[in-house]
Structure formats: structure tokens, C-alpha cells
């Protein structure tokens, strides 16, 4: 049942994406309003699907890559909606909704119907805490990544004096810069908290807070990158292009930590791949 709901959610996400793209191309305001409502409906349904899975498998659904990605897509969508509700960033939807859709596609294809018994190491209250906080920070940092991409795109238009269709459709540089910073300021503390809760959980499960497994090492690298970026922003006043590039580098490292390490580098965290 929850798998079926997730598939319906995916269809709704595809519709919202199409709507946002229509809005981007035609600039029709009603397309944007409708897309927002469609995405909202999809998000509510998605939350329902995850709740049902929780009930069905009897523990918080954070144990396989499919479940993890599903929660990530939900967090991204919910955060985007909240964000648009507060401070509207023109055409951000056309950038975010395809990402939500793609993650959901991956979630649908990776989430298996059969539920394996939970390994003892995952039977801890710290699991849902650690995973949810990490995924929430990933979602918010995804937003800052996309906003930084928009910044670089718009920056290029203005610098190269190409004031065409893209220029007209993207928000102003300063708006994008402020919004990216806002996301960093929320996403980074959550990332920090995610690493701390992970470390506590590691102590409970393996008896050591930190064991330099590849996942932990890469998390630390990611954390340092974001810390450096925020530090430079707040002290020296880094902003604009350089900050946007750093945000993107930080995010790519984050993606590697999340996916690359799981699939490429063996270690204690590799159970997240589900099959291993």
C-alpha cells in the first residue's frame, strides 16, 4: 500500500514539475499557483506514504537507500514549500521540482517490498534521530546548492551582458545570495547536529564515538568545507560568485559522502545500501 502511495506521489511530483516548467517558459502566474498546490498535495501524500511504511515495517523507515531517499525527497519538497511560502524566489520551483522528482524516482526503484529483519546495530532510538536530522540538513543544503546554481547562471548573464530570456526569468543576484546564505545558516547547524547524533549512536552501537570509517571521514571533510564557507561569509564578507562556487563544491562533497562513500568505499555505514 505504501509503495502504491509513493508511486502516486511520484506522478503528482511529475505534474508539479511540468507546471513549474510551464510557468518558467510562459511566465503565466496561474501555472505557478497551480504547481504550488499540486506539489503541496504530493508532499502531504508522500508524508502519508512514509507514515504507512513505518506502521507496516514496525520501525522508522530509514534503513535502506530507498527509504532514505524517499525521506530526503519529502524533506526537500516540504522545505521548498515552506521557503516559497515565506520568501518567494522567482522560478526556484523549476529548479527544485525536477530534483524532487528524480530523488523520488530513485526511491521508488530502490525501495523493496520485502522487509528484512532489522540488524541489531540499527535497533536504537538514535537511528531515526540521526538519519532524520542528517537528511533534513541535506535537503536544506540542496536548496542552497540550487539557489547558488541560479546565482551563477544569472551572474553570467549580467557579466556577459546577455539580457535575454534567462536574465528575465531569474531573480536578482542579491536576492539569490541572501537566500543561499539563509539556507546555509539553517543547513549547517543541522549537519553539525547530524554528525554529533551519529557519533553518539556509534558509541552506543560499537563502543567508540569516532572510528575514522570512510563515511565519518568524508562527513568531516564536508563539514569543514561548509564551516570554512560560512566563516568567510561572516567575517570577510565573502559573497556572490565565490561563495556560490564554494556552496556548490561543498554540496558535491556532500553528495559524495552520501552516495559515493556508500557505494564505493566499504565501511561500517555500508549497510545503508540495503543489500550489503
Amino acid at each position: 500500500m505504501d509503495a502504491f502511495l509513493l508511486r502516486i506521489t511520484l506522478i503528482i511530483y511529475v505534474a508539479a514539475t511540468a507546471g513549474y516548467l510551464v510557468h518558467m517558459i510562459t511566465l503565466r502566474k496561474d501555472a505557478e499557483r497551480v504547481s504550488f498546490l499540486v506539489l503541496l498535495a504530493g508532499t502531504v501524500l508522500h508524508a502519508g506514504a512514509i507514515a504507512m511504511r513505518w506502521v507496516a515495517i514496525g520501525h522508522p523507515p530509514f534503513t535502506g537507500m530507498g527509504e532514505t531517499l524517499s525521506f530526503l525527497a519529502l524533506a526537500l519538497s516540504a522545505n521548498f514549500l515552506l521557503f516559497q511560502y515565506g520568501h518567494k524566489v522567482k522560478n526556484l520551483g523549476a529548479f527544485v521540482s525536477p530534483v524532487i522528482t528524480l530523488i523520488t524516482v530513485a526511491a521508488v526503484s530502490l525501495q523493496s517490498g520485502a522487509v528484512a529483519p532489522l540488524p541489531p546495530v540499527l535497533r536504537s532510538l538514535w537511528l531515526p534521530f540521526h538519519a532524520a536530522i542528517c537528511l533534513l540538513s541535506y535537503a536544506i543544503l540542496t536548496l542552497s546548492f540550487l539557489i547558488s546554481l541560479m546565482y551563477l547562471l544569472q551572474e553570467r548573464q549580467i557579466k556577459k551582458k546577455r539580457l535575454g530570456a534567462i536574465f528575465k526569468r531569474l531573480p536578482s543576484l542579491e536576492t539569490l545570495d541572501i537566500m543561499a546564505e539563509r539556507c546555509l545558516k539553517i543547513g549547517f547547524p543541522l549537519l553539525t547536529l547530524g554528525i554529533i547524533t551519529g557519533s553518539i549512536w556509534a558509541e552506543k552501537a560499537w563502543g567508540a564515538y569516532w572510528s575514522w570509517d570512510p563515511k565519518e571521514t568524508w562527513s568531516l571533510i564536508t563539514w569543514f568545507l561548509y564551516a570554512a564557507l560560512l566563516h568567510q561569509r561572516l567575517t570577510v564578507g565573502w559573497r556572490g560568485r565565490r561563495s556560490a562556487y564554494m556552496t556548490i563544491i561543498g554540496y558535491l562533497t556532500l553528495v559524495f559522502t552520501f552516495l559515493g562513500v556508500t557505494y564505493l568505499l566499504p565501511g561500517a555505514h555500508s549497510y545503508v545500501a540495503g543489500t550489503k
Binding site: 557579466k159 536578482s172 543576484l173 536576492t175 559573497r239 556572490g240 560568485r241
Partner: protein, 432 residues
Amino acid sequence: MSQARNRQEIVLLGVNHRTAPVEVRERLALRELDRPALEMFAGLDACEEVVFLSTCNRVEVIASCRDGRRCARQIMDAWLSASGLQDEGVESCLYRYENSEAVRHIFRVAASLDSMIVGEPQILGQLKDAYREASEKKSSGQILNRLFHKAFSVAKRIRTETRIASQAVSISYAAVELARKIFGDLSGKKALLVGAGEMAELAAQHLKTHGVRDLMVANRTLERAVQLSQELGGKALSLDELDSALIEADIVISSTGAPGIVIPADLVRSIMRPRRHRLLFFIDIAVPRDIDPAVNDIENVYLYDIDELKEVVEENKAERQKEAKKAERMVEEEVIKFTRWLESLDIVPIIQRLQEKAEQVRQKELQKTLKRLPNLSDKERAAIEKLTKSLSGKLLHDPIIYLKKGIDSEDRDQALAAVCRIFGIDDNRDGS
């Protein structure tokens, strides 16, 4: 009297920037007349209602009348003789529109589709002024009132539903648009004028209307800086203070008459750290240029010179032309609606007469019958009264519907005459 003469018509005569040179337009504006031009036209016996529009790009007379040809002739004669242009052969400069063509023209003028710069907003205000004058002097009536109110609402609709006026078509406005794409909200931003040229002043005024509060003016001669900064409400500086001003400013407009570079790239590079890498937007409208083009290569700094702004303006103009096509379609819809209303006007008196006649017949027959039946109760009388009313009402229902909706515009005169003959009513459609 021919039937055509009974219909309401609209006539428009005029010249604009395309048809007549400025000397002719000036003369036709009739500014040196001893009484207002509007009064003169309103006094013509063929004109029922008149509005007189005079702007720097166009002069037009719009009138409603019963006989378009005669009215146009009278207007033309009066106009040419009052302006002293009778023998100058300017008649070929004048355009003349009637009815739906006149309606279309006024709608297009109001929507700024007929302007020299398509989409420029002033014309609507000028049209409103012309209409206000006419309505104050009571030279406009039922028809022109409706025509102008429709023109205003069409213009408003076009402005909101198309992007005809959404893009900057002047250099100073293009600069403001760019600033808004860099900074978003301009309130709280600081602008610095280097040099005190006229175009810089214009751009500064645009910036102020878009929320820029703080303004600094730096000039070679401090006197002129003080003068301009007082006009614009800002702070005056000398050119020596440029470095510190650049640290504070967000938008810099440069327009000095200096022969060489006034703001070198090294200077800008050196101030970026003290200004904490805040975005900086340079607008160079001086010829020769004041700002080193290499400034544009510095991170978080954007430089546009006058040629680049001109290019933006040209592109925007092309875009406007495209939007204008959409607007023309909207005008066309409204012209059809208005023309239909105009044509329905001569039907109203016929319908009235039809109803009057029916009522007279009904009253007469009712009195006759009631006299013969003196012993009826009040209730019975009321029932008979009701019967007669519903009889006459139902009989007239279909003819009235036919008059309102069923007549083809081509043979409407014959159709109306036929209706009048069938019911034996007067076919004088001017209502008098």
C-alpha cells in the same frame, strides 16, 4: 431626410507625428486662438459631442454626430481657417476615421499603440486630460463618454495583460532595471554620481523613485556638485573623496567630461575588500568613457557603458513590437463590442415607441371594456387589467428580441423601416 442621417456616428480627424511635421501640428493645436478650440468645435451645428486632444505628437478632434460626412467637412473647414492653413495643402496630412475605424483609432491611441515610442505611458494621461476638459465643458455626452471610458479600460487591460510597457526603452530607465536585477530591492542602497551630466541626473531621479535613499554627487567643480545634490537631495563631494565614496556606494553613475579614465580598475580592485565584497554596479554614460572597461572583470563588479545600455534598449523595443501584436487583438475585440453598442442606439427609440403604442392601445381598449361592465368587483378588474398587460407584453416580446439581436448589420435600415411600417410607428430614429 434620408435614413442614414438618423444614425449615431463617430468622426475623428487629426494629424500625428507620422503624417504631419511639427510646424503643422503646432498650428493645428490652435493655442493662439482667442477662445478654447474645444468651444469652437462644439459650436458647429453638425457636431453633437466633441473632444479635442492636443499633445506634442498628435492633434485630434473626435465628434459624435448624425451625419459623419457633413460633420467632418465642418470640422475641417473650421479647423483650417482657425489655424490659418486653408491654402497650404495640409488636408493631405489629416487622417479621417468614421465609426468603427474611429473607435479603433482612439483605443489604439489610449493603449499607446499609435505612439512614437510604443507603450509609453504619458498618452493615456493626456487623453484623460482632454476628456476631462470636454466633460467639464459639457461638450461630451452619452456616446463620447462611453467611448472614452471604454478606451481607458482597454488601455488598462492591455497594460496589465501584455508586457507592452514592461521593458525599459530609455537609457536611464534601462540602467535602473539592471540595478534591480542586481540588487533586487533598491531601498537602502546608495548611489554615487560622478560628474553632473543631465542623463546622470535623470537616472538618479529614476533610482530615487525606486527607493534609493542615499545619494552622493562627486564633481570636478564642487559648486555644481552642491547644486545638483541639493536638487536631488543628496551629499556633495569633491573628486578627491572618490575612494571613500566608492566604498560606501552600491550604484555608481559616471558622466564626466574628462578626456581620460576617471575610475581605474586598480582603484576598484583595492576597495573591494574594505567594502566586504558587496556587489557594485557601474554605469558609464560618459563619452569618452570614464571607467576602465577592465572593471567589469573584477569579481562582484558589473560595468555597463552607454553603448551596452543602448543595445538593451533596442532589444526591449523589438520585444515591445511583439507584445503590441497581442494588444492589437485585444483592441479589435473591444472595437467590435463598442460598434455593436453604437449601432444598437438607434433601436432604443423604436422599441420605446413600440411599447408606448402598445400601452396606448391597451389603455384605450381597457377603458372601453370596463365602462361596459360597471358591476365588476375590484378583484375582477385587476384580473382583466393583468390579462391585457400580459397580452401586449407577450405580443411585443418577439419583435423586441428581433430588434435587439436579430438584425443583420447590412440590411438593418430596411429591417428597421419594415418593423416601423408593420406596427405603424414613426421611423424617426433620433428620438426627438
